[in-house]
């Protein structure tokens, strides 16, 4: 208990360092944007290659997830999220909801017997 309290106290001490201490430069944001733009261009080009099945949708989904992580991590600052007791609070709040949303997606498909039929 005392150890946990010490953890919280330590986390409090560092929380704002993690939250506000790191200020990415303007150049950093432009680089992230350039990567996002390139990924979008590759996505569109990939969709025009005339591929079908897994070779079409898997790379597209990978690039989509990469863009998602870049925006959430860099622009929404989750990479610099506040750490409390070895956990990143906002990241976990968001990730848990996201997992729940993905579960909803699969439950809907399973319920309507479309994908798994």
């Amino acid at each position: 208990m005392a150890e946990q309290t010490a953890d919280v106290a330590a986390a409090h001490g560092h929380a704002h360092d993690d939250d506000h201490g790191h200020h990415p430069t303007e150049r950093h944001y432009w680089i992230i944007f350039a990567i996002l733009a390139v990924l979008t261009a590759v996505e569109v080009a990939w969709s025009y290659l005339g591929l079908e099945g897994v070779s079409l949708w898997l790379p597209l989904l990978v690039m989509m997830v990469a863009k998602f992580i870049l925006v959430a991590g860099e622009f929404m600052h989750l990479r610099f999220d506040t750490k409390i007791i070895n956990g990143r609070v906002f990241t976990w709040a968001f990730a848990a909801s996201l997992l729940l949303a993905v579960a909803v997606y699969f439950i809907v498909f399973a319920a309507f017997d479309t994908v798994f039929a």
Binding site: H23, Y29, L36, A37, M76, A96, L98, A101, V102, V108
Partner: protein, 243 residues
């Protein structure tokens, strides 16, 4: 419309004023955030939880869209007369021949829209950086640019809806139309809400009331805006690029 914008400005102004009148024992950091017992900003935590609930909303909408599209195409190809009659004959033939609804999409146009929304995320984060550094001019420029880019995206969506409607895809007549307009329409409504928030911040900036002690207010609007961008990243790939 002006009334709505004024009301939104008042709400943002109230939130910002609340920062100014916070109890002294809570204290502030230099970015307007409250020091709480765990070192977390309650407003930021509330925003993240709200965005979490939005994940569920859009997860359900995307699932429904995919399910409806699959059912629509299956029935169309199988020759179900009710589904075939729900869209113009020429369009039905194109869809059946392609085996997807892809022929109706204008991918280069939508790619342009996606790029614009992606760029607005950059300008938003630059606006937050500018307000944190008390750079009034840059704050106004980047907030204005974000609102402008968001409005351009919305104009593109209105144009796309108009094209779809003229092609014969209506909201109430076909399963595909209902699912498409509901999903993209909900996203568009979120973008519109974000634009109103940005305009409210811009009004505050021009009144000289948006300083670094209110950076968290800008950050909260930014979180919402980036989330709307993230949802479009998903919609663009899942709805437009994957047949």
């Amino acid at each position: 419309m002006t009334d709505i914008a004024d009301s939104a400005t008042d709400v943002v102004d109230d939130v910002a004023s609340a920062d100014d009148h916070a109890p002294a024992d809570h204290g502030h950091d230099d970015h307007g955030g409250h020091h709480t017992s765990l070192g977390l900003s309650n407003m930021k935590l509330a925003m993240w939880l709200f965005l979490g609930s939005e994940c569920l909303l859009f997860g359900a909408l995307i699932s429904t869209f995919l399910l409806s599209k699959a059912r629509f195409i299956t029935e169309l190809v199988a020759g179900n007369p009710r589904v075939i009659e729900s869209i113009p004959a020429g369009l039905a033939e194109e869809f059946i021949e392609a085996g997807t609804v892809e022929p109706i999409y204008d991918i280069p146009f939508t790619s342009g829209s996606s790029f614009i929304l992606l760029m607005s995320s950059l300008t938003m984060v630059l606006a937050h950086k500018a307000v944190s550094e008390d750079d009034d001019l840059q704050t106004k420029i980047w907030l204005g640019a974000t609102a402008l880019l968001g409005s351009t995206f919305m104009a593109g969506q209105v144009y796309e809806f108009t094209v779809f409607y003229r092609e014969g895809i209506e909201y109430g007549t076909s399963l595909y139309g209902s699912a498409f307009y509901t999903l993209t329409g909900f996203h568009g409504a979120h973008v519109t809400g974000g634009i109103l928030m940005l305009l409210s911040l811009l009004v505050l900036a021009f009144r000289g009331k948006l300083k670094s002690n209110r950076a968290e207010t800008v950050e909260l609007v930014g979180l919402y805006w980036h989330f709307v961008d993230i949802v479009w990243v998903l919609i663009f790939t899942i709805v437009y690029l994957i047949p």
